[in-house]
């Protein structure tokens, strides 16, 4: 078994063609070529840090403002989950809780762990870390559910002076969190997980 890097090749991230590593563009599709994503760990951590900072306003500001019969209430993400639980809509409460709280936080923790492990001398088995990376990459966009709920409610619930929904500041902040975590996951190069494995000739 030989890796592209060991045989002087760089694998194109678009078409998987292994071009000579000395070239700057893929021979098949012309995409920019790099054996490993440049500064992958720094980029991932910087974007993750940005997402973590934005996560604060995303939870402290209201995500939407509801007026019903002249009474105005501001809802945060957590407030929305609590209301759903009070109303007995447990499945929907679970969807929002998982998409808006567990996935973004879990994703940031997973990326931090992957970045940290990539620098360790004896990290966890590569297959396990690859599985963690795949989950992280797959779940990313699903956090956007709550933002889209706001979009639908704002568009729909505009009934004269009786009921009105307006978007709150947290909607943009939360959309920013999702986009930044997606970019962070995209910046992490999963090949770094296997690089030391190959060099030490270990087996799992």
């Amino acid at each position: 078994m030989t890796t592209a890097l060991a045989s002087g090749r760089a694998v194109c991230h678009v078409c998987l063609h292994p071009s000579p590593a000395s070239e700057s563009a893929c021979r098949r599709c012309g995409s920019t070529l790099h054996a490993r994503i440049p500064h992958s760990l720094q980029r991932t951590m910087a974007l993750g840090l940005g997402a973590a900072l934005l996560y604060l306003p995303a939870n402290l500001l209201p995500i939407m403002v509801t007026s019903q019969f002249g009474r105005t209430t501001e809802n945060t993400i957590i407030g929305g989950v609590v209301r759903l639980i009070e109303a007995g809509s447990y499945p929907v409460a679970a969807v929002i809780l998982i998409a808006s709280v567990l996935i973004p936080l879990g994703k940031l923790a997973a990326l931090a762990l992957l970045c940290w492990a990539a620098r360790q001398r004896r990290p966890a088995p590569p297959r396990q870390r690859t599985a963690l990376y795949r989950v992280t990459e797959f779940v990313g966009k699903w956090s956007m559910v709550d933002v889209f709920v706001v979009a639908v409610l704002v568009g729909l619930v505009q009934i004269g002076g009786i009921m009105q929904v307006k978007p709150g500041g947290a909607a943009l902040a939360f959309a920013g969190v999702v986009v930044l975590t997606m970019l962070a996951a995209e910046s992490f190069d999963p090949r770094l997980i296997w690089d030391r494995y190959g060099r030490e000739g270990a087996r799992d």
Binding site: S7, C15, P126, A151, V154, L156, I159, L172
Partner: protein, 217 residues
């Protein structure tokens, strides 16, 4: 499982059936010509190719259907709500417009892009790509088109939006009566055909076909 290779590949472009695993960098021989099943990386299990048929009929038909559903989804009322004798119905564009009207411009732009522009552009791309590949024309648009298509894939959120709409329905059902409109069902159908079209379009099969066209005189 595919055989991993022991020798570095020769420099010739003829070594087209050797690909690199995107997730662990292993060089793997994938015999696409006779592949009738999916191929995974032998070391990390990454899905290298789905080995869908190389006639491109299915992704073409599915993408075309998705585009028709997309037109329906933006032309008809999406949802209607009635409370205390008053009624309000909205289209998809109107919903995004009211986000902008209340000052949430950023959210409006993001929603428009992730929910409509990117998925629709991708389906247009699939239709154009399949037509070019079927016509066996080595068009200069082929490579940029395929590149754009596979890069945009991570940023389409049609499926997420569909779930978001269903969550909204449940949230509102206690306060008001909601009637899903034609566009609602059209968008659900768009999401399903979109996902099917993208799974039936295999990355390596596309690049292999592009290679063949470019090699031909």
């Amino acid at each position: 499982m595919q055989p991993a290779i022991d020798q570095p590949p020769p420099d010739s472009a003829a070594a087209q059936d050797i690909v690199g695993c995107l997730e662990c960098d292993l060089l793997v021989r994938v015999g696409l010509q006779r592949a009738s099943h999916a191929a995974y990386c032998p070391r990390c299990g990454y899905l290298l190719t789905d080995a869908t048929d190389d006639t491109f009929v299915q992704p073409f038909a599915l993408a075309l259907a998705a585009l028709i559903f997309a037109v329906l989804a933006v032309s008809f009322p999406f949802l209607a709500v009635s409370a205390a004798g008053l009624e309000n119905s909205m289209t998809l564009f109107a919903a995004i417009g009211s986000l902008a009207r209340f000052g949430a411009d950023g959210v409006a732009v993001a929603t428009l892009a992730f929910v409509l522009l990117i998925p629709v552009a991708m389906m247009l791309g699939v239709v154009a790509l399949c037509l070019l590949l079927r016509a066996e024309r080595a068009s200069p648009a082929l490579v940029p088109l395929a590149r754009l298509l596979f890069r945009l894939n991570a940023w389409s959120m049609a499926d997420v939006f569909a779930i978001g709409v269903i969550v909204s329905l449940v949230k509102l059902s206690s306060m008001a009566e909601i009637v899903p409109g034609t566009a609602f069902w059209a968008y659900i159908a768009f999401t399903v055909t979109f996902l099917l079209a993208m799974t039936r379009l295999d990355r390596l099969t596309v690049w292999h076909a592009v290679d063949r066209l470019r090699a031909a005189p």
